[in-house]
Amino acid sequence: MEDNRVIYTEDLTRYFGQQAVVRNLNLAVPRGAVVGLLGLNGAGKTTTLRMLLGMLEPTRGHATVLGKDSRDLTPEDRGRIGFTGEGHFLYDWMSIRDTEKFGRDTFPRWDDRLFQETVDRFGIARLAHVRSLSRGQRAGVSLASTLATAPELLILDDPSLGLDPVSRRALNETLIDFCATRQRSVLLSTHMLDDVERVADRVAIIVDGRLLVNTSLDDLQSRVAIWSVDGTFDPTRAAHVPGLIHSRPLGGRWMLTVADPDAESEAAIARLSATAPQRVNASLEDIVLAYLSRSRAEHSFYAGAN
């Protein structure tokens, strides 16, 4: 059977000294999928990406990328993977035309069309020098150079960091164009939830080095629900609600975000207040914030306990 996963990790773990930064990560990226990798700064996203690219040894477990262990990737394998990291590395003294020529001479499968279309989308003049580019334009040239190598798998680490709205739009359009055939795959680490909703069809949420969510966007939105409950104090402090992700105050009420709610969860929520709790639909942002806020709350709790 042909493996449909371009990336899968088995108990991928990385320690820095005594600290586990990535813990028992089991992540899968199916071919043709665009996966949005979400998490707070320091959650382990970049460390995970570096292990996938073979730039960092796992402490335990392993990662398989395009059918190979990430520690054994050959230059040919790497040629099938496109990577753009934070900061968008480019040679400052080159013009855009030089950058294009350099790429064409270096990569055997260089795609002129993809390079030019991407550069045009970001509104960059061919004769401009890299050093004179804005941050958004740098990102554009960097992305164009990566895409033009015609990778099967694209790994992007926070590509929208510091981009203006026009460049962000250009980035999204470029990614949609890149995956139009639904054969190429993208793993995209980002904080931009609106972009994830548009560009991705799957989401992975990392909290404290652990993968808490790894599913399709639709599945996530259909499986997580929010209840609005009356109360001055957090009602979930005194009672257990099965599947509770996070509870937060909102104008004299408490918003309870619950994963995979069943009859037991509903009964537990109904017991929390005298008035009937109201179920409201959850947006992607509601859900992601619930997961990430819980992590922050636990952090402060642990800090207080020490």
């Binding site: 999204n172 639904r182 939830l193 069809d201 639709d218």
Partner: protein, 130 residues
């Protein structure tokens, strides 16, 4: 037909697409046999993942709203009711609720509201069937 999606809301994007195609058919903007944009084209136009668009179209095909025809792409199928009976009722109630709540705020009585409603229905060519 102009499809537009909004991110950040509590309606998933694929649901926004299916809703808008159904609405365009219900409003007569799309007729039986009309083609809708290809998955690739629509994904590009509205800047949404093609798998998300494909999922929306697959649901519309499953519900008999669209059909795939060799060489012509995706077309609006001949079936009349794009919504189930329950869904039609739900949507009618939703629209009526808005009107009723506004009418009450403006201090109208039931007779006035019903009379006004009837006039408007007759104006668009509807009449009592009984």
């Amino acid at each position: 037909m102009q499809i537009q999606v909004n991110t950040g809301g509590n309606v998933p994007l694929y649901r926004q697409i299916t809703d808008q195609v159904r609405q365009a058919i219900a409003a007569g903007q799309l007729q039986v046999g009309d083609a809708v944009p290809s998955v690739r084209q629509l994904a590009k136009d509205i800047v949404v993942n093609p798998n998300t668009v494909a999922k929306a179209y697959a649901e519309l095909v499953r519900d008999g709203v669209l059909e795939s025809q060799q060489g012509r792409g995706m077309l609006v199928s001949a079936r009349k009711n794009v919504y189930t009976k329950a869904e039609r009722l739900r949507r009618l109630d939703q629209a009526l609720d808005v009107a009723i709540s506004e009418a009450i705020t403006l201090h109208f009585e039931m007779d006035e509201i019903l009379q006004r409603m009837q006039q408007r229905l007759e104006k668009v060519g509807l009449s009592r069937t009984s």
